[in-house]
Structure formats: structure tokens, C-alpha cells
């Protein structure tokens, strides 16, 4: 059973957990625009990791992979712009 946990997706999960705690601690530093942007970038980096690795989109056809990645990047940029105040 131990062998299946020493895999790429387990490392991805560890990064997702670390990123979750990082954004949680970032929030405690204050509420400046830069910190809000960092939290959004961390969240959407996690989204890209879940899509590419857990949903296996990194092996999917380009239209599907880039459709998903474009959605994530565009939504992240729009939200950063809207959270400037």
C-alpha cells in the first residue's frame, strides 16, 4: 500500500496542502492589494495543478488543456483587477 503513495500525484497533493497553508498565513499578514493578489495567484496555481495533474489534463488534447488553462488565467486576472480595492 505504501508504494502507491510514493507517486507524482502524492507530491502534487503535498504542494497543494503547502500552498493552502501559505495562503492562510499570507492572509494573516494584512489586507494590502499585493497580499490579495498573492492569495489569488496561489489559489489559481492550485486550480491549475488540480486540473493538469488530478484531472490529467496535461495528457489531454491541446484544445481541452488550453481551454481549461485559459479559463483559469483569465478568471485570475479579472479577479485581481476587481480586488485592487
Amino acid at each position: 500500500m505504501a508504494m502507491i503513495w510514493r507517486s507524482r500525484i502524492t507530491w502534487v497533493w503535498a504542494m497543494l496542502i503547502a500552498a493552502t497553508f501559505l495562503s492562510f498565513e499570507t492572509m494573516a499578514l494584512g489586507n494590502a492589494f499585493l497580499l490579495r493578489s498573492v492569495i489569488l495567484v496561489i489559489a489559481f496555481t492550485k486550480v491549475l495543478l488540480v486540473g493538469r495533474e488530478f484531472m490529467e489534463l496535461r495528457h489531454a488534447p491541446r484544445w481541452l488543456l488550453w481551454g481549461f488553462q485559459s479559463w483559469a488565467i483569465l478568471t485570475c486576472l479579472v479577479l485581481i483587477a476587481l480586488f485592487r480595492t
Partner: protein
């Protein structure tokens, strides 16, 4: 080891699950993007109210639910890989994912009941409307996802042998990961920002 990993990952150019699942996922992503932008615009209009109401949320419960869903997603991803390898542990991994997902529902129910007991209800203010509406719609997704995972689990016999092709567990896994990634954004928007 290398051979088992090659079999456990999907082949290049492969669409996981049925293509119809991805039409649904794409539609859901667009709808939720509209939700996120609507919330951000409403927050701009009533910034002070949103910040004070947001401070009433228990961020530790939001964090706990994020950890539960991320770990549940890991179990589903491992279950998909196990099915591809013909590994009979897939059933147990799927069961673990369902238990962790059920944990999310229990934490959410506890959080809702605690907030309502404190007088933080749907009609309290603009923020509470968005909070209950978005987390409620997401919770419906979690319940549907759990139903789909339970159905997928029912396709295994007690010995861990699976009926049908890989597409079913790939498709149900993709939906479960969608539930996970939508929560990642909701957690950031509602609890952290």
C-alpha cells in the same frame, strides 16, 4: 516501477472519461466564473460591510474543508491510477475519498448551524446572501459528486474487481476534482480575501 507508472497515467491525447462530462464541466466553469466576478463587483460596492461580515466566518473550518477536499481528490486520483494498473486497492481508495468528502459535508453542516445560531442567516446582509448562495450551490455539487462516487464504487465487487471500462471512474473523478477546484477559489474569495 516505470512500467506500472506508464500504465497508471493516461495516454497522451486522451480525454479522461466521456466527452459529455467535459461539456458539463466547461459549462460549470463558465457559470462559476460569472459568480466570482459578480461577487467581486458586489464587494467593491459595499467594501466595509463585506469585510466586517467576512470576519465573522470561521476561517479554520474553511481551511479544514479545503484539506478534506484536496485529500479526497488525491484518493480519487490514486483510485483512477489503481484501476488502470488493475490494482484491487482502487475500491478502498474510492471509499476513502467518499469518507473524506462526507467529512466536508459534516463540517459544512456544523458551520451553517453555528452561523445561523449566531444570527448570521441568508438575509443578514449582502455578504451573507453570496456566502449561503455560493457555498450552497457548491454543497449541491459535493452531494452530486458523492452520489457519483458511490455509484462508481457500486461497480466494484467485494474483492475489488471492477465492472465496465475505465471511463466511468475517470469521468466521476474529473467531476470530483471540479468540485475540489471550485472550492479552492471559493475558500480564497469568501474566507481569505
Amino acid at each position: 516501477m516505470a512500467a506500472s507508472q506508464a500504465v497508471a497515467s493516461s495516454p497522451r491525447g486522451h480525454v479522461p472519461g466521456e466527452e459529455g462530462v467535459w461539456v458539463f464541466i466547461g459549462g460549470d466553469l463558465i457559470v462559476f466564473a460569472v459568480f466570482f466576478v459578480t461577487y467581486a463587483l458586489a464587494r467593491q460596492q459595499e467594501l466595509a460591510l463585506f469585510e466586517s461580515a467576512q470576519a465573522l466566518l470561521d476561517r479554520r473550518l474553511g481551511l479544514l474543508n479545503t484539506l478534506l477536499l484536496l485529500t479526497s481528490s488525491l484518493f480519487v486520483a490514486q483510485a483512477v491510477a489503481a484501476v488502470r494498473r488493475g490494482d484491487d486497492r482502487a475500491r478502498r481508495l474510492l471509499l476513502g475519498a467518499i469518507l473524506l468528502g462526507s467529512g466536508f459535508v459534516i463540517v459544512k453542516a456544523f458551520e451553517y448551524s453555528a452561523k445561523i445560531a449566531q444570527g448570521f442567516t441568508l438575509n443578514s446582509n449582502s455578504f451573507s446572501i453570496y456566502y449561503y448562495m455560493f457555498t450552497g450551490i457548491h454543497l449541491v455539487h459535493v452531494l452530486i459528486g458523492l452520489g457519483v462516487l458511490c455509484f462508481t464504487l457500486s461497480r466494484f465487487d467485494r474483492a475489488g474487481r471492477r465492472q465496465g471500462g475505465v471511463a466511468l471512474i475517470e469521468g466521476s473523478g474529473a467531476f470530483w476534482h471540479l468540485v475540489d477546484l471550485l472550492w479552492i477559489i471559493l475558500f480564497a474569495l469568501l474566507y481569505l480575501l
